[in-house]
Symmetry: C2
Subunit: 212 residues, 2 copies
């Protein structure tokens, strides 16, 4: 389990987790890599290769135990622990994230929103308080925070991110449209760049028109 697993494999794991969750909902107890392959539209050999990175799970001729595989992938992805999240930027995007109940089912619990707009002070989103950014030091001193989601403009993103890191935050879910320049390189960052995603979509639109 100590070998390096490629980020490409890791990117595919949440999708396995989602499909296995759907199979559990349908009452399916065992599935062969061929059946899973036709559902997920990836090759059975890809599935076997991906899962072999984590030690296999399958039994020749028996297929995979759905519940077991689901739980093991959950553990690999760290979903057996609760992750507390704060959201920096309580605009529409920050509020959308705070409102999304699904994250909680995966163990990601939003415990506070922060903003600089005093009009938002004291408001709550689904019971989660909106605090002012200058209260963050106190908050971090008294709450366990595992992830900070940055849903703020890119202009101050570096400054705020580095402040959070100095105060002990080790993981950032970055929606600001910038590659963060962090002073501490051990911090884990996951970017969601919506503009980049739109550009990829528009590239594929142009390409599909050419193919017609």
């Amino acid at each position: 389990m100590n070998k390096e697993i490629s980020q490409a494999v890791i990117r595919r794991m949440p999708r396995y987790y989602r499909y296995l969750g759907e199979l559990i909902d349908e009452g399916v107890e065992r599935i062969s890599s061929n059946e899973l392959s036709s559902r997920m539209k990836v090759t059975a050999s890809q599935i076997r290769q991906d899962l072999n990175n984590f030690g296999g799970f399958g039994q020749q001729g028996y297929g995979y135990n759905v519940q077991y595989l689901y739980e093991e992938i959950g553990k690999i992805m760290g979903l057996n622990e609760q992750h507390n999240i704060i959201v920096i930027g309580a605009g529409n995007l920050g509020q959308a994230i705070a409102n999304y109940m699904k994250f909680e089912k995966l163990g990601f619990v939003i415990i506070g929103l922060f903003d600089v707009d005093t009009k938002l002070s004291g408001k709550k989103i689904r019971g989660i308080p909106i605090l002012m950014l200058d209260e963050i030091e106190d908050f971090l001193a008294t709450h366990k925070v595992d992830i900070a989601a940055l849903t703020m403009p890119k202009k101050n993103a570096d400054e705020v991110a580095n402040q959070l890191v100095q105060l002990g935050v080790h993981a950032i879910w970055n929606f600001a449209h910038v590659d963060l320049e962090l002073l501490d390189e051990s911090v884990v960052v996951e970017n969601v760049h919506l503009s980049d995603s739109l550009m990829q979509l528009s590239y594929n639109i142009v390409k599909s028109k050419k193919e017609l």
Copy 2:
């Protein structure tokens, strides 16, 4: 220009575009692949390889003309044309997307939001009307729509997506946490699965703790 360019290269292009835009803002006219490499923290050979997919743009010993490269990448990504977007689901996430002015600067113009919640009917977000989903057929008959963003629950996502496709929509920006099952396979889909992104983050948190 007819050869197939890998999606991995395409995924990197928006980042080039963003960095080149920043260089333009700073008044930089020319940049070598080495300088661009140290800014973007990718190897110079990666940069040369990526850009060679589109015919190069660089001149040996002169580096890249920043403005020219920026515009050419913009054209490759289809940003020289306006893309009209409708947003299906006018909750927080839909409203966040409608409020995000930056997309417009890239040529992505949101022209309508749709929902089934009659309380939202007649409201406007940044001047963009919220309409009821049963008005969509009329709307699509009278408006050019290039992209539908699905910011609705996954339960009805397939049904609505297929309805949109039948009405002539050819590209979907899917935020619903499901792989869409579309009857027409020529439709271009780009997924933004926020739960998947959180799971990748949490995997990397677990991994970084093990490395300590």
